[in-house]
């Protein structure tokens, strides 16, 4: 039986299998069809119906279940929903256990939340460092470009204020008002 205790491990393995089976397009299609439109349809329904309050309901519940030791912080206002991951439960599982079958596991988050939020009318600012730290800001589509200044939404919980957060943008995968996992900033 495939279990849920090590879900992140075989989920990551599955990305590699799908890429071998059908290339990058197959992996993108899987994130959108299987995860956004099927597995996570409860998230999709909440966010399409309620916007930022729906994001709070969805991520507030699912992150507490996945990361009960609170390796994350949620901030929200009427115009923005933000998550800071200081210890991503998903990426952390892979790092702790030395699992690596796909070139960039972190892409899966933008792979399914990007299309989901696009359908709900939101765009994403995001950076991840591949080490279990990242941040996300979701704003209504049409919001002006550029990343908000560190600390301006999450205060001292902003992951960019960590001493180990890379100062060199080349060490980060970065997105600006994006919905597509391949829309990384150069």
């Amino acid at each position: 039986m495939i279990g849920c205790y090590d879900f992140c491990g075989h989920y990551e393995w599955t990305f590699g299998w799908l890429e071998r089976a059908g290339g990058h397009a197959q992996v993108r299609d899987y994130w959108n069809e299987a995860i956004n439109h099927d597995s996570q349809r409860h998230a999709r329904d909440l966010i399409r119906g309620e916007g930022i309050p729906g994001m709070l309901k969805y991520w507030g519940h699912t992150l507490l279940e996945e990361s009960p030791d609170l390796g994350f912080h949620i901030s929200h206002r009427a115009d923005v929903f933000r998550i800071d991951f200081h210890d991503c439960p998903s990426r952390g599982f892979l790092l702790r256990n030395g699992i690596h079958h796909y070139r960039d596991y972190c892409d899966h988050c933008m792979g399914w939340t990007g299309p989901m939020l696009c359908e709900a009318g939101y765009v994403i600012d995001h950076e991840h460092n591949h080490r279990g730290q990242c941040w996300w800001e979701m704003r209504p589509a049409g919001a002006p470009g550029g990343h908000a200044a560190p600390g301006s939404v999450a205060g001292d919980k902003d992951v960019r204020l960590r001493p180990d957060w890379p100062r060199d943008p080349a060490q980060l995968d970065r997105y600006e008002k994006a919905n597509d996992p391949d829309e990384k900033l150069p």
Partner: protein, 169 residues
Amino acid sequence: MNPSAGPLPYTDTKPQGSADFYYAINATFRYILTKLGREAWAAYLQEMGRGYFAPVNTAWRTGGLPAVARYWRAFFAAEPGAVVAVTEQPDRVEIHVHECPALKHLRAGGREIVREYCRHCHILGTARAAAAGLEMRLRGGNGSCCHTYALPSAALPPQEPAAIAEVTP
């Protein structure tokens, strides 16, 4: 990989997994079955059994049936909602799944379950058993079943495809 001292190859910071991940497992099966077909789905499970589960297969090969029993006890202890009894005999280990945690959660969540769901345990289990020098059989399904992992000397009868139930709504 980073093998732990315990019977499970990978460890987490919490004692049990998040049951909502069963939604993603079911959705992954539906995606591969729909987009790539049944043969590809079987290949996916076989390759996962030989590849992703290689650390477990190695532990089974070196540790024999006691290692198989330890693994399944630890595995189901980490699956929320599982009601399972593992019994050991000299030539086999039987895993009596009284309440499948995956089907229970998928049904509670109102999800449409792929009818082939139970067959994944047989395809995956057979690949893993073969890599460990064992044989695997499955009977039942649709919420309760019995998995058997046995030495070749147990001379289990061939797997009856009809012995594996399809999932019904």
